[in-house]
Amino acid sequence: MPRIGKQTWEFPSRPVLLSAGSIVGPKEGEGPLGQDFDAVEEDMYFGQDSWEKAERRFFEQACEIALKKVGLSGEEVNVLYGGDLLNQIISANFAARTLAIPFVGLFGACSTSMEGLALAALTVDAGYADYALAATSSHHATAERQFRYPTEYGGQKPPSSQCTVTGSGAALVAKTGSGPRITHATIGKVVDLGITSPFEMGPAMAPAAVDTILRHFEDTGRTPEEYDLIVTGDLASIGHKIAVEMLEDQGYYLGDRFKDCGILIYDPDQEEVFAGGSGCACCATVTYGHLLKRMLRGELDRILVCATGALLSPLSNQQGESIPCVAHAVVIERGEES
């Protein structure tokens, strides 16, 4: 049966992650992983006249890069699973208009990358698509504008804040071909342990990440040692420490094999990164840029990528609600040449 345990999907045909595209903004380009991204765009406006139009361009570019690498056109892709942080996911909507690929819009906040990848793998495995694209984007200015304050506002952010990654990551999944394989996906449940401050997203999301990771081990019967790397999307330094403690309380000591994309993407010395990166593009660009390259170099054989999302809106926050979060995990393995 393709579903194992309570929340995990197994993909018997082991769909191929045929190609991926990652494009980031200047801050990420200057970070420790700068060399691993396919493209760095120095202009945060991407030559457009609004931040939102810029984010769309990032989204489109990531998809185009992924397609170009294997010489495919948008015409040949059967479905695009895409989403972003903005109201009505306009970045994904408008990029889908440009790309002209059958479109399923998603909202998983910062968990969208793995939510999309899981669905793309599911669709290909079940035979409903030969090629499926999963993409997501985020932009520092559009997130600031929507969730917090105008970008030139002189408010003081506390050290627990995170810095939204500007960029986009896209992955093309296919039935056959050479490349890493997607073997499993664990779909997370919404978890809310009562954190209310939007400046403490990492702590808010940690329980959801832990819940999905524990469920993954429970469903698959695997142990952490069977993975070379288990990485969360954007818990950043504070949320990650909390996740480590929560996992230890359950008897899981992951040690060095447990990392976080929000911590990897920036150098702590970079200006205003605070606790680390966040945003849909954080997990997407680090996974599709950096981690896949490590896998190609033979450094990683099997990884579990657990993207984490905070499902709040500015309105829910103003109405006094806490922050419900979700995390989705996907297993990517180094492929045998086929």
Partner: protein, 155 residues
């Protein structure tokens, strides 16, 4: 089915306590010192402006406040437009937010940011997005205080 992570009332309380331990304490002492220095400096500069308006432009002690505030607001708006005020704000905290320059920054930042939605609905409609509460509550508080004070006089 239940989640692997407990979400009951007790679990939430314990989690909050545990999270508290990991969230870094704000550097209150450093922030207070920076706020004091920057806030004081802005007010000192305001005092200089006051003197200039009194000495060279014939304003009185009472009326010099108006042009002083206008000049400070102009400068704050300029610094906001140049992209400098937000950096000052991150460093100085309340030191740049509490003086009237902070009010100007809030208005200017919102106006500049929302230009992409057009001048009427964007700039016009969103200008008071951040600074609105100050105007509303200042007015309401003034109304209540003045009313109470007048009523007390009548008694």
């Amino acid at each position: 089915m239940a989640t692997m992570v407990k979400q009951g009332v007790k679990a939430k309380a314990e989690f909050k306590k545990m999270a508290r331990r990991h969230v870094p304490k704000r550097p209150v002492a450093a922030n207070v010192i920076k706020a004091f220095l920057v806030g004081g400096a802005i007010c000192l500069f305001g005092q200089f402006l006051n003197q200039i308006f009194i000495t060279y432009f014939g304003f009185t002690q009472k009326s010099a406040g108006n042009p002083t505030v206008a000049v400070l607001i102009f400068l704050a708006t300029l610094l906001t437009g140049l992209g400098v005020y937000d950096r000052l704000g991150q460093w100085a905290g309340a030191g740049s937010a509490v003086p009237v320059t902070g009010f100007a920054n809030a208005m200017a930042a919102a106006a500049i940011e929302h230009r992409s939605e057009g001048f009427v609905l964007g700039v016009g409609g969103q200008m008071f997005k951040v600074a609105g509460p100050v105007i509303v509550y200042g007015t309401v508080a003034a109304f209540v205080v003045a009313l109470i004070s007048q009523l007390l006089k009548l008694l």
